[in-house]
């Protein structure tokens, strides 16, 4: 049967078909749907771990117990999970361990553009890279087989374009799997103290040598000979981009990007006159092929940054591309992503933006509040960094920083990597105030469950961690809970906590407006009375999508309203189809012009 599937859905399907029954991960674009799709297959166990490091450890444990385990994360997740992974490369696996890294060329939804192929070399782990959904399904099976055959973790690398493109996949019957799990003791292999690790270190090098030999005949490394004039060496989705524009060239398509099949590359190079290496991001293949003494063209013509498309490749190789066309020359306003109408983060960050404090931020929907007009967040490095950075800043500033440094972090992010830095703050007696933006879900990546929501990935009821109690236990004495839909309360609580010495935590709690399970408020809509509106623009300062500025001309009768003695030149209006009725703008309005819409 044929099915249209995204790369992510195909990875989940392939894992299921080949008998993997165990998966863990932490959400992160573009990897999230792999876990969500896998979790729905019959007879599988799938969980969200609190973070990627935990996920990796859970996967390693499952593999040592003999399972075929899959661990799923976005590219930066591998940074978090690197510590256990690098040593799991030494121990190997009893069962199978496949790690999916979903990279994000062009930074569609990420804080950096790192090329995780380097992790394969660094950790001495083989890596496969599919080019479309059909290959994604086939390669994940290969990855499990390789892991078992060579007793090693195996990487499968995807990119945003592969993960989120859909193409036709041939569904196959899932394999019947016997339970191969068991407790097997093997201290020399699994206790990585120096004397054991030194021995495993040698095993790792031997395994890499075996894998290099294997790569030479691995059928997914294949030569497609056409014209001998030009040969293209490529992997992943770049293969399809190149085939689209240069079907007449010869190709060496690498299904395994680490280790490389040196003999096969030499064989290909001997058959073609000129070689291009086409790869997004770093010259990972190119540098290794050059080191073999083969002359190639690569990053001198192809960009280092951003994802490719067929046009980028055509332009780089032919130099010209089509002449510039004439098109309408109307300036196009940008359309950046924005907090949703009714987003509970908006009230909190409106207040933070007005307080003239440094807000050390973190990653989540709330990061968007760095933009105009809120401008309520002033740094964002990685998940969990908001707390540690606020503490470091506050300590470095000393007296000057008192009452001036706030750290913010989302609920999912706090449980991912905020607990330890908060413990550090309590332990080292910090003066910063931490706000936990608890919208009851992992909103940014599409409402995934986490240990604070009361449900698991597979929909089972579970514990719901009490964040306030947890924070107290860590040694933070002052813990306050506020409703971010109440601007006055948020302002008062923040001011009081900033004035206090010692660390404190404010939990800003209100469910995400898009979160159906926990309704945040009854839906209604607000309107602005054009007669009462003075045109002061205060409500526009919320940056709420339904509120727009409308110019009024001076000769129309209603243009005579005054604000601070100045004649108004426009009024604010609310698009009732977009308004969710959170009422924040009504709290701001000084002339009571904003009221609930009567049905």
């Amino acid at each position: 049967m044929k099915e249209l599937m995204s790369g992510n859905e195909a990875i989940a399907r392939g894992a299921f078909e080949c008998g993997a029954r165990f998966a863990t991960g932490y959400p992160g674009t573009p990897s999230t749907e792999i876990m969500e799709a896998f979790a729905k297959y019959p007879g599988v166990y799938a969980e969200w771990s609190p973070n990627e490091k935990v996920a990796m450890e859970v996967g390693i444990g499952a593999a040592i117990a003999g399972a075929r385990a899959m661990v799923v994360m976005k590219h930066v997740g591998v940074n978090v999970a690197a510590d256990p992974l690098f040593t799991a490369s030494y121990t190997g696996t009893n069962g199978a361990l496949v790690v999916i890294t979903a990279d994000d060329p062009s930074l569609h939804s990420s804080q950096n553009e790192q090329d995780n192929r380097h992790y394969a070399r660094f950790a001495k782990i083989p890596m496969l890279e599919p080019a479309d959904s059909e290959e994604a399904k086939a390669f994940i099976k290969r990855a499990f087989e390789l892991s078992e055959q060579f007793d090693t973790p195996v990487f499968l690398r995807s990119t945003t374009r592969l993960s989120h493109s859909k193409s036709v996949v041939n569904l196959e019957k899932p394999l019947k799997v016997d339970d191969r799990t068991d407790i097997r003791f093997n201290a020399e292999k699994f206790v990585m103290v120096p004397m054991n690790a030194r021995r495993r270190r040698v095993v790792v090098e031997k395994r890499m040598q075996d894998l290099r030999i294997f790569a030479e005949t691995f059928p997914e490394n294949r030569i497609e000979m056409n014209s001998p004039d030009v040969g293209i060496i490529t992997a992943g989705i770049s293969y399809h981009y190149a085939k689209d524009v240069f079907p007449e060239y010869s190709y060496l398509k690498l299904g395994m990007v680490h280790p490389l099949p040196i003999g096969l590359i030499r064989e290909f190079a001997a058959q073609v006159r000129k070689i291009y290496v086409i790869e997004e991001l770093d010259p990972f293949l190119e540098e290794q092929i050059r080191a073999m003494g083969i002359e190639v063209t690569g990053k001198e013509i192809f960009p280092y940054t951003d994802e490719f498309d067929p046009g980028v490749i055509e332009q780089a190789i032919t130099g010209g591309g089509k002449a510039q066309r004439s098109l309408p020359e109307i300036p196009i306003p940008p359309r950046p992503p924005n907090l949703c109408p009714g987003c509970p983060h908006r009230g909190l960050f409106y207040v933070l933006g007005k307080l003239k404090v440094f807000v050390s931020g973190d990653i989540g929907c709330y990061t968007l509040s760095f933009m105009k007009p809120l401008e309520g967040l002033h740094s964002c490095i990685c998940m969990g960094a908001g707390i540690g950075m606020a503490h470091g800043m506050s300590k470095a500033l000393g007296e000057k920083g008192k009452g001036k440094v706030v750290g913010v972090i989302g609920d999912s992010t706090f449980l991912h990597s905020g607990i330890t830095p908060l413990l550090g703050m309590a332990y080292n007696h910090s003066d910063a105030v931490i706000v936990i933006c608890d919208n009851r879900t992992t909103a940014m990546t599409g409402m995934q469950e986490h240990p604070g929501t009361g449900f698991t990935l597979q929909g089972n009821k579970t514990i719901m961690v009490d964040i306030a109690a947890l924070v107290k236990t860590l040694g933070i004495d002052s813990v306050r809970i506020v409703d971010p839909y109440d601007l006055k309360a948020v302002r008062t609580v923040l001011k009081e906590e900033l004035a206090r010495s010692g660390p404190s935590v404010v939990i800003s709690r209100r469910a995400c407006v898009l979160f159906k399970r926990e309704k945040s408020f009854p839906r209604k809509s607000f309107r602005i009375d054009p007669e009462k509106c003075t045109g002061c623009r205060l409500c526009l300062g919320m940056g709420c999508p339904p509120i727009a500025w409308q110019k009024v001309s001076n000769d129309s009768g209603s243009a005579t309203k005054k604000t601070k003695g100045k004649e108004r030149d426009g009024v604010a209006v609310i698009d009732r189809n977009l308004c969710t009725g959170c009422g924040l703008c009504a709290q701001l309005c000084k002339s009571q012009a904003i009221t609930e819409e009567k049905e």
Binding site: S167, P310, P328, P336, A548, G570
Partner: protein, 190 residues
């Protein structure tokens, strides 16, 4: 058959991904190879959303290059302008005349682009403008704007209406089928 490309573009929340899924299934049903590509994530938060759909005998890239789109379906008026350089000179442009203001327009910092349809007509021969919101309301649900536009697009594709209906029926829960079919036909009738 050589590979053809359609670009659906608009704003997060307009049902673009659902529409492009249906489009792909229609091509699959007539035995063609098809690939589509879109980026979600941040884009859901009111940002730009695009979906490239490519179909033919054997499709390689899921992304079209510039100057290569046969039909652009823009779900929002000014968004049309952002992607015109993707459209072939001989291509067709379908424009939903709905305006969704981006933040800078809401704040009154920059004006919403004027005369969009007229300007596009100066550069492309085949331009269709559609008041999709009005037709969706006429069909019975404002959220069927995507089906109205899919209907308008279907008018350019020479495939039987029964085929479209079958795929639409398979794509919605029973109680939403009638309204989506109606929206599709209102768009197709243009």
């Amino acid at each position: 058959m050589e590979t053809k490309s359609i670009l659906l573009a608009g704003v997060g929340g307009q049902g673009i991904l659902r529409a492009s899924d249906i489009l792909c299934r229609v091509f699959m049903a007539v035995g063609l190879d098809v690939k589509k590509s879109e980026v979600h994530g941040m884009a859901q938060r009111g940002g730009c959303v695009t979906s490239h759909v490519r179909y033919g005998q054997a499709v390689h890239s899921p992304l079209a290059k510039k100057n290569d789109i046969d039909i652009l379906v823009s779900f929002e008026k000014m968004e049309t302008l952002r992607y015109l350089d993707y459209v072939k000179e001989s291509g067709t442009v379908i424009i939903n005349t709905e305006e969704i203001y981006p933040p800078a327009v809401n704040l009154g910092d920059v004006p919403y682009p004027k005369n969009v349809c007229e300007e596009v007509r100066r550069f492309f021969l085949s331009v269709k403008s559609v008041n999709a919101a009005a037709l969706a309301i006429r069909a019975g649900n404002i959220r069927t704007v995507n089906m109205v536009l899919l209907g308008a697009l279907s008018g350019c594709l020479h495939l039987s209406p029964e085929l479209w209906e079958k795929i639409i029926d398979d794509s919605f829960p029973f109680k939403l089928i009638a309204v989506n079919r109606k929206a599709f036909h209102l768009g197709r009738g243009l």
